[in-house]
Symmetry: C2
Subunit: 83 residues, 2 copies
């Protein structure tokens, strides 16, 4: 399944607790669209959030965010992971 | 140790092979600065690269990129990781 990294920029009130709440909503909503939010990274100072997500396509990944809590990413990139 | 996510944007010639070569140079250079490049994600279409790195500070992480291959990130964010 394709892998995507999205970026949310300058999110107001992006505390660890608030983002954890939104993430739980993603997890509750994602199954019906075949989406799997895997991890996220939060920079509380700048309100930047990076989400790593497996999804059938870009639109499905964004749809989960939109329907779960409305916080849609500013960018989403199909990526390959390397280490 | 602090964790950072950096972003390289619109990198010319960012093929998987080219980025893998640059990453090997990071790994060779990072030890002297106490830096550990952990993973990266590449979007070949847009030339976007996300690097996840542990470092004593932001400047040390950037210094490794600069000295290893000269491709310095456009942004770097101190982040916390959640899953």
């Amino acid at each position: 399944m394709p892998l995507y990294m999205d970026i949310h920029k300058k999110v107001e009130g992006a505390t660890a607790d608030a983002v954890a709440d939104a993430h739980i909503k993603d997890l509750e909503s994602q199954g019906q669209y075949g989406v799997k939010y895997l991890k996220y990274w939060l920079d509380e100072n700048s309100g930047t959030i990076f989400c790593l997500v497996e999804a059938p396509d870009k639109e499905s990944a964004m749809r989960v965010h939109r329907e779960a809590h409305g916080l849609v990413a500013d960018e989403i990139h199909e990526v390959s992971e390397f280490s």
